[in-house]
């Protein structure tokens, strides 16, 4: 203990008693990322599963779905990739609940650091994971015949937007994980992903759905996000297929993005504060 006392009593630490928001967020983010990197089976399994689903859509269902004037793969990829952020979200919700369950959050909450940093760290680390899986799916997509009809710059913008959408949804899933309290319940609550993912324009055109479903499908956030990505990757085909210019979808997708963050973030922080 004498060694600890002398180390801790040194002038370097006597002046600072806690880390600020940026430093503590990055420190906790590093921990979450290390956990992913050092438990590779988590990422490998998730990636393999996603690739399999992608190939099933591409080669099994793809033959039965006809999109006028466009190969199905070019229609599917933006939908599949944008929807992917929801499915990664289930994982972050479970990870958040697990941290809570295992007491790590108690330790972090008992430290003199800004409380938002722990949640921000979770959002950042899991957004990094979204970036990884988006890049991976895109690589597979190109390998099985996906082409960008617009410019490469538009393609990059689409990639960036998917990450932004992912970041917004992370806050929703973090809030869910905090409310669920344990990983299994969090997985169960993750079921809300299914109506969002399937009752959207992600896999099939909305016009093929019953009218009452179309109302929801047309206006829900994921459809606007998917169609924003489409507008950027389909180039000249986009307007004919989607009926609006890309700015139409972009503004709506961004409004949804802001709304999701504006609602989920304070709810998550309030829940975290309460303990």
């Amino acid at each position: 203990m004498t060694t600890i006392a002398s180390t801790l009593g040194s002038p370097a630490t006597a002046t600072s008693h806690h880390a600020g928001l940026a430093k503590s967020t990055l420190t906790v983010t590093r921990r979450a990322l290390l956990r992913y990197v050092r438990t590779p089976q988590l990422i490998v399994l998730a990636t393999v599963q996603m690739s399999l689903f992608f190939l099933i859509y591409r080669y099994m269902f793809g033959g039965a779905i006809h999109i006028a004037g466009l190969p199905y793969v070019d229609y599917l990829v933006p939908g599949f990739i944008a929807t992917g952020v929801l499915f990664s979200g289930i994982g972050s919700s479970a990870a958040m609940a697990e941290d809570l369950e295992q007491g790590l959050i108690d330790r972090l909450r008992s430290l003199p650091i800004p409380r938002a940093s722990v949640l921000a760290a979770r959002a950042l680390a899991d957004t990094a994971l979204v970036a990884w899986s988006t890049a991976f799916t895109a690589a597979i997509a190109f390998a099985v015949g996906f082409t960008l009809h617009g410019s490469a710059l538009d393609g990059l913008a689409a990639f960036g937007l998917v990450i932004v959408f992912g970041f917004a949804f992370e806050w929703l899933f973090i809030a869910m994980g905090l409310f669920a309290g344990n990983a299994q319940a969090a997985q169960g609550m993750g079921m809300i992903v299914f109506p969002l993912a399937f009752v959207s324009s992600a896999y099939v055109p909305i016009s093929s759905m019953p009218t009452w479903l179309q109302v929801f499908a047309k206006h829900q956030p994921l459809t606007y996000m998917v169609d924003t990505v489409r507008a950027l990757t389909l180039g000249p085909h986009a307007h004919a297929l989607l009926g609006h210019p890309s700015s139409y979808f972009l503004t709506r997708a961004l409004i949804w993005t802001a709304t999701i963050i504006a609602v989920s973030l304070p709810v998550a922080i309030a829940r975290y504060q309460r303990g």
Partner: protein
């Protein structure tokens, strides 16, 4: 010097369950205080309140002289918490875990490294320091967790059931680590279900039950209150239970308890055992067959019965009745 903890009339409910029901507690500086109580007594709720992890419904709580509600940040700077679960990241090494906490205390990289090295040394984890924590044994995890709570060199260390679930050897190792800390001047508040743990580590014991403090004192004072020992007679035939209970009941005007399921009669006796000898002689004379006789320290249940002056535990009577049915 201000007391480390001053709690007055703390209350906390979770839905209908009352976790704290007017708990009063004062922990003086320079002491190890053990909060002793059964599961559900409110021990963990109390520690979480001290650690600013939950909002109290009522009462006043000062930690290191600071109000937990008004100045939680100041309280957090004064405490280190090691909860019931080893709150460490299994996918990081022991050293990385400690460095993470150190950098959250605002230490720069070099200082954080030095702190981590010092804590590993202190807790005898130097050899395992660079292994991932998920390869650690249960005892090592707890020690690392304890280490993490020391990184901020807290004035008050909060240990919530630090040895629950550990094997005897790891338990003793952890006790040694805690004792060394105490010698170096850290105040400790620990919760435990084990009387011997409180006895080994604490200079002040607060017995908590149903969310209230029911007794406070040094281990010696409390033992004096509890007094004596418990004699258990294990009979061969359950039809003899009544007779034996009646004979043992004459000792020191004690009330003999019958446990039908295990064919055991137990009674409180004083340490000299004169009354017990007499009673056993009459049992022998009556020709009752006996499997085993044991004299032991009162267990926590019995301590509680004495200190809370409750009638023999109704739960246990119910259990016994069910087992017999």
């Amino acid at each position: 010097m201000t007391p480390t903890i001053e709690a007055q009339g703390l209350t906390k409910r979770f839905g209908k369950a009352v976790a704290l029901d007017g708990l009063d507690l004062v922990a003086d500086a320079g002491q190890v205080v053990a909060v002793l109580g059964p599961n559900g007594a409110g021990k963990t709720t109390f520690v979480r309140a001290v650690a600013t992890l939950l909002a109290l419904d009522g009462g006043a709580l000062l930690v290191a002289g600071q109000d937990v509600r008004k100045r939680p940040a100041a309280v957090r700077r004064a405490i280190g918490l090691a909860g019931q679960f080893a709150a460490i990241e299994p996918a990081m090494t022991g050293r990385e875990n400690l460095e993470m906490v150190a950098s959250l205390f605002g230490q720069n990289r070099r200082t954080a490294k030095a702190t981590a090295a010092a804590v590993l040394e202190q807790l005898g984890l130097v050899d395992a320091g660079d292994r991932l924590a998920r390869t650690y044994s249960g005892g090592m995890r707890r020690r690392l967790d304890l280490g993490a709570s020391l990184v901020g060199s807290p004035r008050l260390l909060l240990l919530d059931e630090p040895t629950t679930g550990l094997d005897p050897r790891s338990r003793i190792e952890l006790w040694d680590a805690i004792r060394r800390l105490v010698n170096s001047g850290t105040d400790v508040l620990l919760t435990t279900q084990y009387l011997d743990e409180a006895d080994h580590l604490a200079s002040q014991i607060v017995i908590v039950d149903h969310g209230r403090a029911v007794a406070t004192g040094s281990p010696t004072e409390l033992k004096r209150q509890i007094g004596g020992e418990v004699a258990e007679v294990h009979v061969r035939n359950s039809r003899d239970l009544g007779t034996v209970a009646e004979m043992l009941g004459r000792i020191d005007a004690g009330v003999a308890e019958i446990d039908e399921a295990t064919r055991r009669v137990s009674v409180r006796v004083d340490s000299r055992g004169d009354g017990l000898m007499t009673a056993l002689r009459s049992v022998h004379t009556a020709g009752i067959e006996i499997d085993e006789i044991a004299v032991r320290q009162p267990n926590l249940d019995e301590v509680f019965l004495t200190l809370t002056e409750r009638q023999p535990d109704t739960d246990r009577a119910a259990r016994t009745a069910r087992a017999a049915a």
